[in-house]
């Protein structure tokens, strides 16, 4: 009975154990602290639309950009065994490109918004290709390759904006950033669902997931099996580029302006954190996109909880760090015991020395 339970627990949750435990802990903590934390109300916003309101909605809404970036970041992490630290800067560039086109067009209509979005996508994909080429062709570690764009990305955005912070005001942009009239769910949440479904569909229809994992686990072995590992790595960066463009456009639509300094500030660290909390190995290999999405919501829930506890926004980081450390420490003995089992198994074979035994 116990064994059965264990098997189900292992098979069913696997690497999702830590993020789900984290979410459950946060929910329990909030329920004890203030049961009304999770109440969802229906209210009218300034435009007179019926919208959902409440802490839970603001958590799900606020984590949208992070969740989208975490999805792309998971793919890059899995394929390249490293992280892209330039997503915040690249999102600022994509947002600037988005605003540039909107400003250039005479009237903001749906076609122009879509054209601007596509342009932002192309720009972000170009920068993704730049990063991806450095990583896949020149074999530079992802963190260093993306350090270049991290250093200069926000300045490039500033340059595109011409040294200003242009604003765009239009009902369409407003609808993208907050609510579409008639739909009570915030639009960014719908976009996250769409992006997640696209990922799911791509994984269902193509072998991208399998290829990415095999490249991440052992690139040269994957190459010997006929997988073009260079292309897979490049592709992961291009896909992240699309995610960056989506996140950047959401960020711009939320505020109705592009500020190259503050748009999605420090989001790269949070995105990497979401990937790690989701139980994905930052060294590459097996991955679960769902884990990263839950990880993003864990981070946002933690932030909103701290705000609800009247912690000032500058001090949140310190408490966040403590919770992160607790989470990863909870996670580590699990890894350790698994790892010990593995070494015991391999030792009993006595034929092979564990390749990653010393880690």
């Amino acid at each position: 009975m116990k064994d059965k339970f264990k098997r189900i627990f292992k098979g069913g949750l696997g690497q999702l154990t830590i993020p789900i435990i984290a979410i459950v802990l946060l929910v329990i903590f909030n329920l004890i602290r203030d049961p009304s934390f999770f109440s969802i109300g229906i209210s009218h916003n300034n435009d007179g639309n019926i919208v959902l309101a409440g802490n839970l909605i603001s958590i799900i809404n606020g984590a949208s950009e992070l969740a989208i970036l975490a999805m792309g970041m998971t793919l890059v992490t899995a394929a390249c065994g490293g992280q892209d630290i330039s997503v915040g800067a690249a999102a600022a560039i994509a947002g600037s490109a988005f605003v540039k086109i909107l400003k250039a067009s005479s009237a903001i209509t749906w076609p122009t918004v879509i054209a601007a979005f596509l342009f932002a996508c192309v720009v972000a994909m170009l920068f993704g290709t730049f990063n991806g080429t450095l990583v896949s062709v020149f074999k530079i570690q992802p963190m260093i390759a993306t350090l270049i764009l991290y250093t200069c990305g926000r300045s490039i955005a500033y340059w595109i904006n011409g040294g200003a912070t242009p604003t765009v005001s239009s009902p369409i942009i407003n609808a993208l950033g907050s609510f579409i009239p008639g739909i009570p769910v915030p639009t960014p949440v719908i976009i996250v669902i769409v992006v997640a479904l696209v990922f799911k569909l791509v994984f269902q229809l193509t072998s991208l997931e399998l290829f990415t994992q095999s490249v991440g686990i052992n690139g040269s072995a994957a190459r010997l099996n006929g997988i073009n590992s260079t292309f897979i790595k490049l592709l992961s960066f291009i896909i992240l580029g699309v995610c960056v463009a989506v996140a950047g456009c959401i960020g711009v639509s939320r505020l109705g302006l592009i500020n190259h300094e503050t748009l999605l500030l420090d989001v790269e660290m949070d995105a990497i954190l979401a990937v790690a909390i989701g139980g994905n190995n930052l060294g590459g290999g097996k991955f679960k996109i769902s884990g990263s999405i839950i990880g993003a919501y864990v981070i946002q829930m933690l932030t909103i909880t701290l705000y609800a506890m009247k912690v000032s926004s500058t001090d949140v980081k310190a408490y966040k760090a403590i919770v992160i450390i607790i989470l990863v420490v909870i996670g580590s003995p699990v890894i350790k015991s698994k790892f010990e089992k593995l070494t015991r198994k391999l030792r009993s074979n006595k034929q092979r020395v564990p390749a990653k035994g010393a880690e």
């Binding site: 992280q83 450095l134 020149f138 074999k139 530079i140 570690q141 963190m143 260093i144 390759a145 350090l147 270049i148 764009l149 991290y150 250093t151 200069c152 990305g153 926000r154 300045s155 490039i156 500033y158 340059w159 040294g163 660290m269 990497i272 954190l273 790690a276 930052l282 060294g283 000032s312 500058t314 001090d315 949140v316 980081k317 310190a318 408490y319 966040k320 760090a321 403590i322 992160i324 450390i325 990863v328 420490v329 996670g331 580590s332 003995p333 890894i335 350790k336 790892f339 390749a355 035994g357 010393a358 880690e359």
Partner: protein, 346 residues
């Protein structure tokens, strides 16, 4: 071509080769700046200023180089520096003792190093996540201590801050005929002492060589009988300690604490280590190269300030471009070397 081949045939290690490239590029860049831009670049004081402004960055980069040689990463160094500055400033303003403040700085750095080292090497958590949490914690704690900028108001500290080493023969004559000697702050001396200590440690002492072995190939290091866990632990402790020292040097330079102090320092430190020839994969690197990496970064900034590129975005765009150039150069050099080596074997 023939000459180049001979150069590659010499038994230079990857470490030495990358370091040599960095040093060479620094001198070429500086000489070009001297020839074209003239102005301040002709005075030795320019180099002293560069050292004065970057003493704490040099110290932090040394620590980061050790960690990176061991195959790890520490992105908390800038935040720890900032925390040390803020806590020491507050302590001194309450009328504290100067020696206790130094101990406080070292203690904070050491504490972060110990916790990071323990979590990373003994609990086997990914270094990026641990030090990211450390960075968040230190930054958050800094703002909890004080959001407003604080100025040090302490007599003994002011005296310590005022200690400057004057080198008359490297000075220059001002327009009114007075000799202005070249001045070096005490922080630079501390930075150079740290640099030398780390250099000696990495080059001749056993723990230092263990870092290279561990970063090069962990499995073989383990089979050679190196205590990998303790070695990794030690690398983070040293890095933490150096961040503490860097914080104190930073405070001696600015004389004030601010929540945004040393913002982005960790990335600057990583960049200077990389330019100096340290590889993030571990096993390759040298602190002398790191020193020149820091100087190259600063020279780029000085050149941009001196030339007409006065739009606010040029500085970081050029820095990014230079970083790109260096990273590509290293990649190509290592690739060419590997190919030549393979040819030789044939």
């Amino acid at each position: 071509m023939n000459k180049e081949k001979k150069f590659f045939k010499e038994p230079l290690t990857d470490t030495q080769l990358l370091m040599t490239i960095a040093i060479g590029i620094f001198f070429v860049m500086y000489l070009l700046a001297m020839a074209i831009l003239r102005g301040g670049f002709l005075h030795p004081q320019q180099i002293f200023d560069m050292l004065n402004d970057n003493a704490s960055l040099i110290i932090v980069s040394c620590g980061l180089t050790i960690v990176m040689i061991g195959g790890g990463i520490d992105i908390s160094v800038g935040a720890v520096t900032s925390l040390v500055v803020m806590s020491c400033v507050l302590y001194l303003n309450k009328g504290g003792n100067i020696f206790v403040s130094i101990l406080l700085a070292l203690g904070i750095g050491l504490a972060f190093g110990l916790v990071h080292g323990y979590l990373i090497s003994y609990l086997e958590i990914q270094p990026f996540i641990v030090t990211l949490a450390g960075m968040f914690f230190a930054r958050g704690l800094t703002t909890i201590l004080s959001v407003n900028p604080q100025k040090v108001d302490h007599e003994a500290f002011a005296a310590l801050r005022g200690v400057k080493i004057e080198i008359p023969w490297l000075g220059y004559y001002a327009k009114n005929g007075n000799l202005i000697p070249g001045t070096v702050e005490l922080g630079v001396v501390i930075a150079l002492v740290c640099l030398l200590t780390v250099f000696v440690l990495l080059t001749w002492l056993k723990p230092g060589r263990n870092f290279y072995a561990m970063g090069g190939n962990q499995q073989s290091a383990l089979m050679l009988g190196i205590n990998v866990k303790r070695t990794r632990f030690l690398s983070y402790v040293i890095c933490g300690l150096l961040s503490g020292i860097s914080g104190y040097v930073f405070m001696m330079h600015t004389g004030a604490g601010n929540a945004t102090n040393a913002a982005g320092m960790e990335m600057n430190a990583i960049a200077s280590s990389i330019i100096g020839g340290t590889l993030l994969t571990g096993g390759v690197g040298n602190v002398i190269g790191t020193l020149f990496g820091t100087l190259i970064l600063t020279t780029i900034k000085k050149i941009i300030v001196s030339s007409a590129l006065n739009k606010p975005w040029w500085q970081s765009i050029t820095t990014g471009g230079m970083l790109c150039f260096f990273i590509l150069l290293q990649s190509i050099v290592l690739w060419v070397r590997a190919k030549l080596r393979a040819k030789k074997k044939k």
